[in-house]
């Protein structure tokens, strides 16, 4: 059931696989942070809008842009994951095509609802729109967990023979529920921390409402992170035996990556409990980055030894790679300049 590596034209990698792997990790971590803020922020705005709906206003004002950024940042990891694991990812996508295809529509509607709610956040009447957006974003997370778990379990593809209509759901997979909860919990934690970060200045300036938002954000962060240790353990032990053994000393790199991720999360938690938003945020970002590496190792270990992207044929051509680097630099420069203009004007009180 493992798709063979085809030598057909167009299937060789144009650069060494490691380049794609690094880019996948970096861009996925960025995407994950944005997604965490988008989903967790929507949930927090819905569940604890705060006094005078301050938290809802503060978060909700940024949610549409966060979704836009999250969607944009979804593209490179999807691209690089396709390059390295396309045959697995696409096979899984076909199996659950109906849900996979609905993903963009679900996110689109959620995005539109958040835009709709944005100017109405001060009113409780915005709740239905935020609630609908939250449900849709949670649905999107389920869709992604479904595909992600299917993509690394070719044995589960047998379900296709009884269900070729693109509605295979991988709920029976032992990792499904803990993996999803791991993600949702992380979203609540990161979004809480995000709320604290954006409320930090107001809090420091003595604004009581800002301080309340910061405390609320940190409360979400610390409590969700505490829960995350339990969920994380559940997730770890739900992984196939040989995989979770690898993270418990069986494989040095895997064990070290997990340990670093957990330690960073612990450090973030400690900083959070102490109310130190800035260090907590840095540790959290680092922890997410480490956990993205852990996630990648889980995929590699799960697919091994049948498949390794390192074994893919390569036909290097570096011109296009440099074009990408140049375009990235140029676009980033323009974006930084534009945002800088905006912020400078804001700083002038315009």
């Amino acid at each position: 059931m493992h798709p063979p590596v085809s030598p057909a034209p167009g299937l060789a990698l144009p650069s060494p696989w490691g380049i794609f792997e690094v880019l996948l990790l970096v861009t996925f971590a960025a995407h994950l942070l944005a997604v965490n803020v988008a989903l967790g922020g929507t949930l927090i705005a819905l569940l604890t809008p705060g006094r005078d709906r301050g938290a809802a206003l503060s978060l909700g004002g940024k949610l549409p842009t966060t979704v836009a950024i999250a969607v944009n940042l979804a593209i490179p990891p999807l691209l690089f994951a396709s390059v390295l694991y396309g045959q697995y990812l696409y096979s899984a996508a076909v199996l659950t095509a109906a849900t996979w295809l609905s993903l963009f529509m679900v996110v689109m509607i959620a995005y539109a609802l958040l835009y709709y709610a944005q100017p109405r956040l001060a009113l409780a009447a915005s709740r239905p729109a935020v609630l609908a957006a939250a449900c849709l974003l949670l649905a999107a997370s389920l869709i992604l967990v479904n595909v992600s778990t299917l993509a690394v379990r070719p044995a589960a593809w047998m379900a296709y023979f009884d269900n070729p209509g693109g509605t295979v759901l991988n709920f029976a997979d032992a990792t499904f529920l803990p993996r999803w909860l791991h993600f949702v919990t992380a979203s609540l934690a990161v979004a809480g921390l995000f709320l604290a970060v954006i409320s930090r200045k107001a809090a420091a300036a003595g604004d009581a409402a800002g301080l309340a938002r910061k405390r609320l954000g940190l409360a979400w962060f610390t409590r969700a992170t505490m829960v995350q240790f339990l969920v994380g353990l559940w997730f770890l032990f739900s992984l196939p035996r040989e995989v979770h053994f690898a993270f418990l000393g069986g494989d040095g790199l895997a064990t070290a990556a997990l340990l670093v991720g957990v330690l960073l999360a612990g450090a973030a938690l400690v900083q959070g409990v102490q109310g130190r938003v800035g260090p907590a945020a840095w540790f959290a970002v680092a922890s997410v980055a480490a956990m993205v590496a852990v996630r990648e190792l889980v995929r590699l270990l799960t697919l091994a030894p049948a498949y390794s992207p390192a074994a893919l044929p390569t036909l290097p051509q570096y011109g296009p790679f440099f074009m990408f680097l140049a375009a990235f630099a140029g676009s980033a420069a323009v974006a930084v300049w534009a945002v800088g203009c905006f912020r400078r004007r804001a700083g002038r009180g315009a």
Binding site: P9, L13, A68, V71, Q87, Y160, L315, F342, R345
Partner: protein, 881 residues
């Protein structure tokens, strides 16, 4: 073959990609052109110092932001998701080949989002210069995004040198890159104008409103001619084969090709109307209509581009089915065992429909939905049964290359055909219905072997005349058979007589008015170019008449005859009476009977729909004929169906020369088109290849359970079918086409290309032959008139010309035609079918009392009044036991 297939039904056939892609392309192009519209309008507003215009622009920018970022961005992701589930292999190929292109495009997209957000949220916050600069960068990044994606999309249609070099840049800057960039940029500007209308109509300030409307109009009117010219440029740079397909061969593209310029004209005209002072309400309706037309324009262009690629996703690399040719080879090897996600691996009688369903999902569903809005397979196959579908599958991708070839074994092909017919169209499996045929009673005139002074032998020249019987639609042959007769004056040394003797022929009762049930005479003027009296043939003969005396032979060429008796029913074997009389005295010298077989039994409906026209047994029905003409018109750009509908049907042989005795009409330029026989066999051979003699029975009246049973000669009884002399369908077609090719007819090579000879190792070894005048030579097998080997084959050795044909040859003394003693072609004695021995062996039954070659079993006394001994007078080996 390596991936599962999303088994949709109604929403198969590319439904999702068409819907999502067209809408995305619409908005994505607006996202580019709209960017330029924003900054140009802002410049104008600031130059004029128009607060209402700036206010409008702010609102327009919000609309722009929401539409392009919410729908545009997400639907772009949607395309990715869609293609990955519909065509995973092709997607992976595009991803890996162009990963840095995609990544580059992403950077532009990311930059777009950043600067667009700054542009919108900074509307009142940034100074004018900076704001405009931000807007400019937005447009620049949006255009670069289009520029990048354009290279990859163009690659799919025109990979250029990439298949050879595998170089990114060769694929990216492919032949359609630049015309496509220009076209898409113009499209983007046109759409910006259209959306400008939609939002500007809401401007309360009239002056500003009209100003923006006029500006929007200029965008559309300026972009329209660029779109038209770049469209020409685009088509002009296509590889010749693709261009030919787009401009001529693709029937699907034709309507979109027409729609494209029409829509441009309508859009330009509508835009001009919007810039006038029509009532606002009317202009609002018009603006919405123009947005819809704009969507139609995008749809037309994208459909042409997608359709032009057929049958490829990536031209020359991956078929629309997401299968690579290299994966599929050999194409006729069993497919299911090689398909990773096939549940059924081997076709059995029990699982054939399930196997067919799997094959459908893997080889058809990518383009053909089941009951859905896109290329519903029912629309293409509901009129035919499994046999017809199987023929289409056999020929798929051979002559017309918009579809890939069917991949799989003959058993899998049959399973797929059965699934389409039974599983999708709900038809019942075809059950053979043998025609009800009874032995015919022939009142043979008495013959006194001891005293009869004359012997009159009658025979027909063709064995059977085959017509379509749908003269109201078209004609393949005029209704007429040729009867010939030899009058032998019996003696020790008999003499063939033609002097002072007349031989009359008389149609049997019920066959004297063939015009009653055949439409030929109604349409003779257009079919054969002259009006004919009812029941009079193109050669001027009536059902009753007098034969023409020739060189030791009487002949009546083209007696009008039909298989339809006046009173109803079907009888392909009307028995005529021949009477020889002394010309002077009128005394009857001899009387005999002769059958003039005629058939309309063609099973065209198998592939063209409809059914038999008469009694469920014979005749091409009007529905079937309509289907045939539709195919001819579609493939050749003719208007035959329209002409037939208007009462002016044409004869095939009026354009395609035919040397058949029943042609009845000749084309003005016989060299212009393939001969009728070569065209018909050559075309259908691709669809009927791989078969045996039963394939012949699809069109010829040779089916053993049919109403005609024309294959009734002694060869047939010995198990020697059509192919032993004429070759298999492929061989037969190749021999005819090779002759046409040598005559310089271009279409021959096209029809020959997909055919593989079965009787020879290569096409070069197939000997060409002219239809009707060069036929298999009997003496190829019957060397020196001996009995041939069991496996002898006459294929490949043709008579030099018409003089060498069995029907035109005589025995060694030059007196008696071969057919007089041996019977007509395809009815040589002993001939037998469901109509019995009498009607099929009249001369021997009349003169010898038993069926056989006249004079066989040492019955020389049929002609000779003394016992004959020794010598092979008429031909060698006459005296074999």
């Amino acid at each position: 073959m390596e991936y599962p297939v999303w088994q949709l039904s109604a929403f198969g056939g590319g439904f999702w990609i068409v819907v999502i892609a067209v809408l995305h392309v619409y908005v994505a192009h607006f996202a580019v052109g709209g960017g330029l519209f924003l900054i140009m309008t802002e410049r104008r507003a600031r130059k004029l110092g128009s607060a209402p215009m700036l206010d409008y622009l702010h609102r327009h920018a919000r609309f722009f932001l929401l539409l392009t970022m919410v729908f545009g961005a997400l639907s772009g992701v949607g395309i990715w998701l869609t293609i990955s589930v519909l065509s995973p292999q092709a997607t992976l190929m595009l991803v890996r080949t162009f990963v840095w292109g995609w990544a580059t495009e992403w950077t532009f997209f990311a930059g777009e989002i950043a600067v667009l957000l700054v542009y919108y949220y900074g509307f009142d916050r940034l100074d004018a210069k900076t704001h405009l600069r931000v807007g400019f960068f937005y447009f620049l990044l949006a255009f670069l995004s289009l520029f990048t994606v354009n290279g990859i999309i163009g690659f799919m249609l025109t990979p250029g040198e990439w298949p050879t070099t595998l170089n990114f840049w060769d694929g990216f800057f492919n032949p359609t890159f630049w015309p496509s960039v220009v076209l898409r940029l113009a499209l983007a500007l046109l759409l910006a104008g259209l959306f400008g209308f939609a939002t500007a109509l809401g401007i309360p300030d009239e002056k500003t409103r009209e100003d923006v409307l006029r500006a929007s109009c200029r965008w559309v009117v300026a972009a329209a001619p660029v779109l038209l010219l770049s469209g020409f440029w685009y088509v002009g740079v296509l590889p010749p084969g693709v261009r030919e397909f787009v401009l001529r061969r693709s029937s699907e593209i034709a309507s979109y090709r027409l729609a494209y310029p029409v829509l441009l004209v309508l859009l330009a005209a509508g835009s001009l109307a919007l810039a006038t002072h029509l009532p606002l309400r009317l202009r609002r309706i018009l603006a919405v209509a123009l947005l819809v037309l704009g969507l139609g324009l995008v749809g037309a262009f994208e459909t042409i581009r997608e359709a032009a690629r057929k049958p490829w996703l990536v031209h020359g690399q991956i078929w629309s089915t997401d299968i690579r040719p290299s994966q599929a080879a050999p194409y006729d090897a069993p497919f299911l065992p090689r398909a990773r996600f096939a549940k059924v691996k081997q076709v059995t009688p029990q699982n054939r429909l399930e196997a067919g369903r799997e094959l459908y999902a893997m080889q058809c569903l990518a383009c053909h939905s089941v009951g859905g809005p896109f290329k519903d397979i029912r629309a293409y196959t509901a009129h035919i049964g499994a046999a017809g579908v199987e023929a289409y599958l056999t020929g798929q991708g051979k002559l017309f290359t918009q579809m890939p070839p069917f991949l799989g074994s003959p058993e899998e092909r049959a399973a797929l055909a059965a699934y389409v017919s039974e599983g999708i169209n709900g038809k019942k499996p075809a059950v053979p219905k043998p025609a009800e045929v009874l032995p015919a009673e022939v009142a043979l005139p008495p013959f006194d072997a001891a005293a009869a002074p004359y012997l009159l032998i009658g025979f027909n020249s063709l064995g059977v005349v085959a017509m379509a019987g749908c003269d109201g639609s078209f004609s393949l042959a005029v209704p007429g058979n040729t009867l010939q007769a030899v009058l032998v004056k019996r003696d020790v040394m008999p003499e063939v007589v033609t002097k002072d003797v007349t031989v009359a022929y008389e149609a049997p009762d019920g066959f004297k008015h063939p015009s009653k049930r055949l439409d030929f005479w109604k349409h003779a003027a257009t079919l054969v170019g002259k009006r004919l009296d009812p029941d009079v043939s193109t050669t001027g003969l009536a059902p009753d008449g007098v034969m023409t005396a020739g060189d030791k032979l009487y002949s009546a060429a083209g007696i009008p005859v039909s298989p339809y008796p006046d009173a109803g029913g079907v009888n392909p074997y009307p028995v005529f009476t021949l009477t020889a009389k002394d010309a002077a005295s009128g005394e009857t010298l001899a009387v005999t009977k002769a059958v003039a077989p005629v058939a309309t039994e063609m099973r065209c409906f198998t592939c063209h729909g409809g059914g038999f026209a008469v009694d469920g047994e014979t005749g091409v029905s009007a529905d079937t004929a309509k289907g045939i003409l539709a195919v001819h018109d579609k493939r050749n750009g003719t208007d035959l169906a329209e002409r037939a509908k208007a009462g002016g049907p044409v004869a095939c042989q009026g354009c395609h020369e035919s040397d058949s005795p029943n042609a009845g009409v000749a084309p003005k330029d016989p060299k212009a088109l393939l001969s009728l026989s070569a065209a018909v066999h050559g075309f259908h051979a691709s669809y009927l290849s791989g078969g045996d003699a039963r394939a012949c029975g699809n069109c010829h009246p040779t089916a053993p359970d049919g109403v005609t049973q024309a294959q009734r000669d002694n060869h047939s009884a010995a198990g020697i079918g059509c192919v032993r002399c004429h070759g298999y369908m492929e061989d037969h077609a190749l021999s005819l086409l090779a002759h046409e090719k040598a005559a310089g007819k271009k279409a021959a090579a096209w029809l020959m290309a997909p055919l593989s000879p079965r009787a020879a190792a290569s096409v070069a070894e197939i000997r060409p032959r002219a239809a009707w005048t060069q036929e298999p030579d009997c003496l190829t097998c019957h060397k020196d008139f001996t009995r041939p080997a069991q496996d002898a084959s006459a294929f490949g050795v043709w008579t030099k010309d018409a003089a060498g044909l069995f029907r035109n040859r005589k025995e060694d003394t030059g007196n008696i035609p071969c057919a007089a003693c041996h019977g007509s072609p395809h009815a040589t004695f002993v001939a037998a079918n469901g109509y019995g021995l009498d009607v099929n062996n009249i001369p021997s039954m009349q003169y010898m009392g038993f069926p056989g070659v006249l004079g066989s079993a040492k019955r020389c006394d049929v002609c000779h009044t003394v016992e004959m001994q020794g010598g092979d007078v008429h031909h060698p080996n006459m005296e074999r036991e």
